[in-house]
């Protein structure tokens, strides 16, 4: 591997995005959870849920701040590191990028209002209504920015003539074939991951001996939400796989180590490749890849051999696929088990192994998000604009990328550590029970 400016630009972009999506995911999902908790709190007149919304919102401000600044970073880095790409593709993708900032603007305004008007309005519902623009803003910015990424996977809405883009249709570019499956999967996995992280916090508190009504209610709400969202996620994941099989078969083929085009293709789970490129140690589920690709066992699945060697994505993305899918199934199973255990009288849903599994689900979901994005992004290598522009032709020619990489690495290290420290400190210094007494002294 040569550390030229192309490689360094890729590394820096990867690092920024991997750091940003942690906060972006939370930024999209947590407002939904806050809105649900406040809604239940008002509806049932239950101070526990109101406190839950408040405390989540307070922690959320910290993650939003880091999300905003790293989002600004990636926004500028697009032009700084990929000037040629932005000059060409900017003609087509400016619209969704721009709409994303509008959505972000909208969210920023109402989040500011929401956080500082808890006791401002007479009617409780007035304050709750503020969550609506926040939710719309955060999910809409995920939507718009994902259309840009979808465009890079399945470009359309223009013609290329002598290196220039002509006949541009901005709307067609936005609603390209990859948009629906991608947007759904991105938004839903964000909801699921945020719910799972909040569930992990509640489960951890209970394991640490804080077993009050506050923690129990928090756990029940968050795990139930995790279950609902993870069911939807498995559906959107399935839709995405079928989409890949049809439109971007080289990505699915590389992810599944599916080399020869065939019907009744097997699904490969885990495994390794030996030096001859043969698959070993795998779990093979017969004919299931065909089913995944087209809902019937004799669907023909295109293999990697159909593509020229210099247009194939690297084969290690298979592991990303495995990580993503197995975590998704794990979280689904754990949250389902908890919900069932809560219904069956003889079972105790607060048993230790189950609680630890819930604790694990939170960070694991974030790992799955990262793995999924790596799969999606590396899966379209060597293209930056699939079929049109290769990554190597789009990077900056500057020779200062190395220095920039080091500066940003330090920045993310400091921000990452500080975020964790500040968040822990914030809640350690103000336990829920004490805050409940202070804020709602007259509860039943």
């Amino acid at each position: 591997m040569e550390l030229d400016s192309v490689m360094l630009s890729r590394m820096l972009t990867t690092m920024t995005l991997m750091f940003h999506i942690i906060f972006a995911t939370i930024g999209v999902g947590v407002p939904i959870m806050i809105a649900i908790a406040e809604f239940i709190g008002i509806k049932k007149n239950d101070p526990y849920y109101l406190l839950l919304a408040r405390r989540w919102a307070r922690g959320f401000t910290i993650t939003v701040a880091v999300g905003v600044v790293t989002g600004t970073a990636i926004g500028l880095q697009l032009s700084l590191l990929w000037p040629s790409f932005m000059e060409v593709a900017g003609q087509v993708i400016a619209l969704p990028l721009f709409m994303e900032t509008f959505a972000f603007f909208f969210e920023a305004i109402f989040l500011g209002i929401y956080l500082y008007t808890w006791d401002r309005f007479k009617g409780k519902w007035t304050h709750w209504l503020l969550t609506i623009p926040v939710m719309i803003g955060s999910s809409a910015s995920a939507l718009f920015i994902t259309t840009v990424n979808a465009f890079m996977n399945t470009p359309q809405g223009f013609d290329l003539k002598n290196g220039e883009m002509i006949n541009i249709e901005p709307i067609a570019a936005m609603f390209n074939p990859a948009t629906p499956s991608k947007v759904m999967h991105v938004v839903m996995t964000s909801y699921m991951t945020s719910a799972a992280i909040l569930a992990a916090i509640a489960a951890f508190a209970i394991l640490k001996g804080r077993k009050g009504a506050y923690e129990r209610k928090a756990l029940r709400l968050t795990v139930t939400c995790t279950l609902i969202f993870s069911i939807i996620v498995s559906v959107t994941g399935d839709v995405s796989a079928k989409f890949l099989a049809e439109v971007q078969p080289e990505k699915l083929a590389a992810a599944e180590w599916h080399f020869e085009t065939e019907k009744e293709a097997d699904l490969i789970f885990f495994g390794t490749l030996n030096e001859n490129g043969e698959i070993e140690n795998e779990i093979r589920i017969p004919k299931f890849l065909s089913f995944l690709a087209g809902n019937s066992f004799d669907t023909e699945v295109i293999g990697l051999e159909e593509f020229p060697e210099d247009e194939r994505p690297p084969l290690w993305i298979h592991y990303m696929f495995d990580i993503m899918v197995s975590i998704g199934m794990f979280v689904l199973a754990v949250s389902a088990l908890y919900v069932i255990a809560g219904r069956v009288k003889k079972w105790n849903e607060l048993n230790k192994p189950l609680l630890w599994a819930i604790v694990a689900s939170g960070p694991l979901s974030m790992v799955a998000i990262e793995a999924g994005w790596i799969l999606a992004e590396v899966g379209r290598q060597p293209w930056i604009l699939r079929g049109y522009l290769k990554v190597a032709e789009a990077a900056t020619t500057s020779n200062s990328v190395g220095l920039t990489f080091v500066m940003f690495a330090l920045l993310y290290l400091v921000l990452g550590v500080m975020t964790v420290v500040v968040l822990i400190k914030m809640f350690k210094n103000s336990p829920a029970e004490a805050e409940l007494e202070k804020r709602f002294p007259n509860r039943g």
Binding site: A65, V69, G75, L78, A94, F105, L111
Partner: protein, 339 residues
């Protein structure tokens, strides 16, 4: 008005918006830190955070809005500026990142860390300096362009009197705008002690503001005579109006009356200067490589962007008014009686 002129006007307006709201924020950080050093923070820091907490995130968006917009409207800017600004741009991003996150750490997390406040105050002065690089580069002379690549001439930039006078002006303006706004805010809050301190800051920064403006003019004449000539022959009246507004504002602050009007005058002062500067810079966006008419995006995209602009503003303006109503014009909130 054609699409590209409309586009650049709207973008310039957003940059102006950023100039005002970010200046208030940047200057406030500096004053808060200064007050802490002088052990006067109990006087003004609550006031500052009461204003900043709900709005700081919005400030950031004005900036994002501008750079996403300009790349969208004029994709060539991505190529030239992108290549040239890798280092200065990255430095600005890092400073903005430190500032934004440490603001949140300080205000929502562990309160009252002098170190956080230092980072917040210091970055507030460095960010305008690093961002002003982009404006300086737009005057030409700091890039070497060949068929295959664009190179940024860092040495030329660091030794140019013009670039230093722009840096000086940006920092001084930040402090002046911020001090006048905060004086007004303290006045609204009926907080006499804070008002007295902030009024002194505002008066102090009047002289450097005018000196810096003159310096920029003089060095621009040496650096880019084409631009300078256009500014003094076609748009002299805008700079004249700017000076007039500045005088009125300083007068009101000096006699200690009508701080609201004074702040509006400061806004107008910068409005005329900023738009006079921008208008006289046209048709160049980056002298002499990028012009307004030749480098605009395709028509379909330009139309789509303008449409979204208008729809977006219909959404944003009422929201911003609501935000201001709740945190700027609500007397009880400003006084700290409402949370």
């Amino acid at each position: 008005m054609n699409l590209e002129l409309l586009g650049i006007t709207v973008l310039w307006t957003f940059l102006y918006g950023y100039l005002i709201v970010a200046s208030i924020d940047f200057g406030a950080g500096f004053f808060a830190y200064y007050a802490r050093l002088k052990k006067k923070d109990h006087i003004i820091n609550d006031l500052i955070s009461r204003y900043l907490s709900p709005v700081w995130e919005v400030t950031n968006v004005f900036f994002v809005f501008f750079f996403v917009g300009i790349v969208g409207f004029f994709p060539a800017t991505a190529y030239y500026y992108g290549t040239a600004l890798l280092i200065p741009g990255s430095v600005a991003i890092i400073l903005i990142a430190i500032r934004g996150s440490f603001y949140a750490f300080n205000n929502y997390g562990s309160r009252d860390s002098t170190f956080y406040l230092f980072l917040y105050g210091a970055t507030g002065l460095l960010i305008p300096a690093s961002l002003s690089t982009a404006l300086t580069i737009s005057e030409g002379g700091f890039l070497s362009v060949t068929d295959v690549e664009v190179t940024f001439l860092a040495k030329e930039l660091f030794t140019s009197p013009f670039s230093w006078s722009v840096v000086f002006l940006s920092i001084v303006s930040v402090l002046f705008i911020s001090a006048t706004f905060l004086t007004y805010y303290a006045d609204r809050a009926d907080d006499r002690q804070a008002r007295r301190t902030l009024r002194q800051f505002a008066l102090f920064w009047t002289t450097p503001t005018i000196v810096a403006s003159l310096l920029v003019f003089m060095s621009l004449q040496m650096h880019n005579p084409v631009h300078y000539d256009k500014a003094v022959t076609e748009y002299w009246w805008m700079f004249g109006l700017s000076l007039l507004c500045f005088s009125v504002a300083s007068w009101f602050i000096y006699i200690g009356k009508r701080y609201g009007t004074a702040f509006i005058m400061v806004m107008l002062q910068f409005f005329f200067a900023f738009f006079g500067y921008g208008a006289s810079h046209l048709p160049y966006i980056l002298y002499p490589y990028i012009t307004l008419h030749e480098n605009v995006t395709n028509e379909a995209m330009a139309t789509a962007l303008v449409t979204v602009f208008i729809l977006g503003l219909l959404l944003l303006i009422p929201s911003l008014i609501l935000l201001m109503k709740l945190f700027l014009f609500d007397a009880d909130y400003v006084k700290g009686k409402k949370k």
